[in-house]
Structure formats: structure tokens, C-alpha cells
Symmetry: C2
Subunit: 310 residues, 2 copies
């Protein structure tokens, strides 16, 4: 069996994702030692208060010294800066990975700085929430979720197997994919939905004929679902947009074309076209529920949550 224990794990960035990894690693005893590094003193202090690791430092360089596994969990636009900071301090034979939501750009930013003898394997856990910071993380975030690794050509198979086993220990199912393909898949399943959600919430906010308080009061009829996505971290999402530009623009163009078709069907009262689309989309929902990717409780089970509260 592949060894999943590491003597020393360095976590660079300790927000939602980094701190969830820390909690799982601690919980399952996957590391002899966890070193945590983040950019700001405030976040570092909070990580220490939450006892997420064994030692804490503002210096990413210092954190990676002697580490067997380095996990970078920062907004994708900060990848190059982190790579430059840690490059000369990485231990030969160490594994460096990341969790960024875009992959081709992260590889372009980091790979050139990773010294020979260090194994760089980019990754992306398909798990998260709209919250951010070290308090938002929790044990089990990755359980039952996919994690996509996008290894570069020539990656050592044993090292890859170790990283795979690590994510599997966190409860994830692991897939491998070409980075460019990853970026296309994520553009449609994640980036476009977030952009659309941000956009519609912005549109609602700008209306003159409908007041903001009306939008808030009656949001239960559909709108509020979008506001959850649109409450996600602005820095993370700005970086995703800037660093997966081509795939996002491609998907946006398709989306707009389809929307024009729908708009025309509404204008000309073509009920059959509307009915056809509205029926086809149901099948996809069914497949997602069957694949265990969502719970089938109506309204996201909010009523169940309401009852729990009261």
C-alpha cells in the first residue's frame, strides 16, 4: 500500500481550503508535523488560535524548509509570487501541489520556478463553500468529492500515487486530467455559474423600477440561490476570471448565443421551444442526483434546516 503519512507538511495559505486540509490531516494523523504560513499576521494568529498546526510563520520560505509535502492554497493570481518565495528552500524529493481553481495558468506561474528534484503536481479539489478564511474550513470538506490532479509530462508514477493516496485519505475520489481540459470543464461547471450569479445579482441591484428591499423580500422565489454563489470571495473569483480567460470567454459566448435563442422564443411566443428546453434540462438534474452529486431534498432541504432551527 502507498504510504499516506508525511513527516512534515507545509501549508501555504490557510483559508477555507488550506484550513480544511489542516483539520483533516490533524484529525487523521497524516503528518508528523504541520507548518502553517499565510500572508497576514491576523490570519496567522487565527490559525494558531484554532490550533490548526504545530508551528506558524509569515515566511513561506521558512515554512517549506524540510517539508515533504507543500500544499499551496492561495488565490491563483498569487501562485507565481509564492513559487518564487519558496523555490530555493524546497527540499529535494519534496512534493509541491496546489488547490487552485484554474490549472494551466498556475502551471505557467509555478513550474518554471520549481527546482529539479522537486515534484510539482498541480491539483484541484472540487469542494468548497461560499465562505472564506480559516474559520470557514471544516473536517470532511473533501469527503465524497472529486479531486482533479493535472500532472505534467514525465511525472514520477510513485510520487503521483502518493499524492493520490493523500487525497483519498481525505475522502476524495481522484481523477487525472490534462490541465487545458480541466480549465474547460471547470469553466462550464463552476466559473460560468459563478459569473452568471454575480451578474444577475448586479443587474437586480441596479434596477430603478424594483427596489432593493423588494428584491430581498421576495428573493425566496429563485433569486436567493444565486446570491449564495455571488457571496463568494471576490479576490478568488477575480483571479479565476483573469486566469482562465479563454475558456471562460468561450463558454460565455455559447451561453449568450443560447440565451438569445431563448429570448427570441419568448418574444415570439414559441411555447414549444421553451417546453423542449425546460424538459431536456430536467434529465441532467436527475443524473446529478443519481450520481450522488446532490441531495434530492426539494429547495435544497432548506425546510429541513428550518425545522432543525425551530
Amino acid at each position: 500500500m502507498t504510504e499516506v503519512h508525511f513527516d512534515k507538511i507545509a501549508l501555504i495559505g490557510i483559508g477555507l481550503i488550506g484550513s480544511s486540509i489542516a483539520r483533516d490531516v490533524k484529525d487523521q494523523g497524516l503528518a508528523g508535523e504541520i507548518v502553517i504560513s499565510t500572508r497576514s499576521a491576523d490570519t496567522l494568529r487565527r490559525a494558531e488560535e484554532l490550533e490548526l498546526g504545530n508551528s506558524y510563520t509569515l515566511s513561506a520560505a521558512e515554512a517549506v524548509e524540510g517539508a515533504d509535502l507543500v500544499i499551496v492554497s492561495v488565490p491563483v493570481g498569487a501562485s507565481e509570487s509564492v513559487a518564487k518565495q519558496i523555490a530555493r528552500h524546497l527540499k529535494p524529493g519534496a512534493i509541491v501541489t496546489d488547490v487552485g481553481s484554474t490549472k494551466a495558468s498556475v502551471i505557467a506561474q509555478m513550474a518554471p520556478h520549481v527546482p529539479p528534484g522537486v515534484h510539482f503536481i498541480p491539483g484541484h479539489p472540487i469542494a468548497g463553500t461560499e465562505k472564506s478564511g480559516p474559520d470557514a474550513g471544516f473536517c470532511g470538506l473533501f469527503k465524497g468529492r472529486w479531486c482533479i490532479l493535472t500532472p505534467l509530462p514525465g511525472t514520477d508514477a510513485d510520487v503521483l500515487a502518493r499524492l493520490r493516496a493523500f487525497w483519498e485519505a481525505l475522502g476524495s475520489r481522484v481523477d487525472e486530467m490534462d490541465p487545458k481540459h480541466h480549465d474547460k470543464v471547470l469553466a462550464i461547471v463552476s466559473h460560468l455559474p459563478h459569473i452568471i450569479a454575480y451578474n444577475i445579482v448586479g443587474t437586480a441591484d441596479d434596477l430603478e423600477t424594483v427596489t432593493e428591499s423588494e428584491v430581498i423580500k421576495y428573493s425566496a422565489s429563485g433569486f436567493r440561490d444565486f446570491t449564495r454563489l455571488a457571496a463568494s470571495d471576490p479576490t478568488m473569483w477575480r483571479d479565476v476570471c483573469l486566469h482562465n480567460r479563454d475558456a471562460i470567454l468561450e463558454m460565455l459566448a455559447r451561453f449568450s448565443e443560447d440565451l438569445a435563442y431563448l429570448q427570441r422564443a419568448i418574444r415570439w411566443g414559441e411555447g414549444d421551444k421553451l417546453f423542449e428546453l425546460f424538459t431536456r434540462t430536467r434529465a441532467i438534474r436527475r443524473s446529478i442526483v443519481e450520481a450522488g452529486q446532490d441531495v434530492d431534498a426539494p429547495d435544497f432541504g432548506r425546510h429541513a434546516l428550518d425545522e432543525k432551527k425551530s
Copy 2:
């Protein structure tokens, strides 16, 4: 205090909304007698199996005979046909109301057929799920949710107060609004979100570069939230699109304009514009949570539901 009890309530249409009303009315003893009518024999049989009322008939005309309160809960496009069927059978002094998601069109379809001496007060409970049919309904669907009434000029104040009290007995908070304004508000808070959700799910379904199984597998990253809305009843939503055309087209135009701006910002790498929008939208989410219109559990509290299951 305004009387909330009715001797005889007729429910025309017994899907998600109609059957939820039936359950609440029964639960709280708000009617001496509940008569249920629906279009198909299958649905009628199911309503009877679920014991949603006291008597059952396929004839809407028969159902409304002697009823003090008639609640029409059918797709908005069927409003005129129902109005024609029941018109000559309504008891003088009866209240006729509906629950349709668009109001100006329902009024245009029904008002001309309502005989003098019968009180027609259109309504719309802002509550629902993506499921449909009599099995989808449940007690408490309207609890804590808004119900909008759009009374016509000259509506009797006492009768209006009775209908208000009825919805309040179901746990709703009641608002009054001009029908045209209702249609604009709902276009942005409900109709546009559903149309956008249907559209993006359709776009994903049509891609050549990303397979359907990839879309399903990785849907947890945002996409699946849209599939829930896009699993809503096709007939209901076709009718909403056809019967709130002008307001929907207006909102769609605004949305597309804003999306073009965002697209341009992505193309030209204008991170500040993206960051500004992504920050502004967070405030709206906060207001919705503060107004009690959504729970603040991250990821819709799906993790809590997962735990309940396991």
C-alpha cells in the same frame, strides 16, 4: 377579529401549491368542507389516496357549487379555461383567488368571466420548490413566506381582509401590490433566475468539448445549484415565460447588457471592475440572510443534510 374559517373551500388544481394549501387547511381546520378538482383522473385519484379533501370531482364547475372560497392553482396559461368553466357556477358572495406566478395576464384571462357579486382577488404565494404534483406538497410550505395579493380597484375591504387572514393563518406575511409591478418584481427575483438556470444547463448539455458525464461528475462546484431550478415544471415555466413576456424581456435585456460589460472586463483583464462587482453583490446576500429569507449555512447546509443521512 376577521373570520378565517370557510364553510366550503374548492381547490381547482391540486399540484404542489394546491395540495400544500389543502394540507394546511385540513391541519388547521380552516374549512367545513374541502372539495378538490383537477384535470386528470390520475391526479384526482392520487389526491383522494392522500386524503387531501372531503370530495373529489373532475368537474371544476361542480366543485365550485356552493363554495365560499375558490382557489385556482393551475399553470397560468390555463386560467381563462378554468374561469370559463366555473363562471356560471360560482355562488354570489364567493371569493375567487389564484396562486399564479404572473398577475396581469391572469387578471386579463379571468376577470372578464367572473360574474358580478363574486369577489375576485388575485394572489401569489412566494413559496415553492422545484417539485410538482400532489405528492410534492407539504404542511407549512407557506410558513414565514410572503404572499402577494394584487386586488383590483374597488375590491371590498372586508373581503380582502378575509383573504389576508386566510393566508396569515397559513403562516404567510401578506403584501398588496399593483399587478404590473408584481410582474416586474417577479421577473427579476424569480423568472429571470429560472430562465438563466434553464439556459446554462442547456448550454452545458450542448458542448462538444466537455462531456455530459464530466458536467455531472464535477457539478458540485456551482453548476448543480442551477440544475435544481432547471428541474422545475416545464409547463408552469413555459406559461410564465409566455404570460409575463414584456417584464421578462426587459429584465433579460438588462442582464445581457451587464453580462457584455463583464465579458469585456474579462477579455481586457480589468480586474478592478470584476472585483468591484464581486464585492457589491456580497452585500445583497448579507441583507437576504439578515431578512430571514435564507439560512446562512454554507453550501445550503448540504453538509448538514449529508450527515443526517449517514
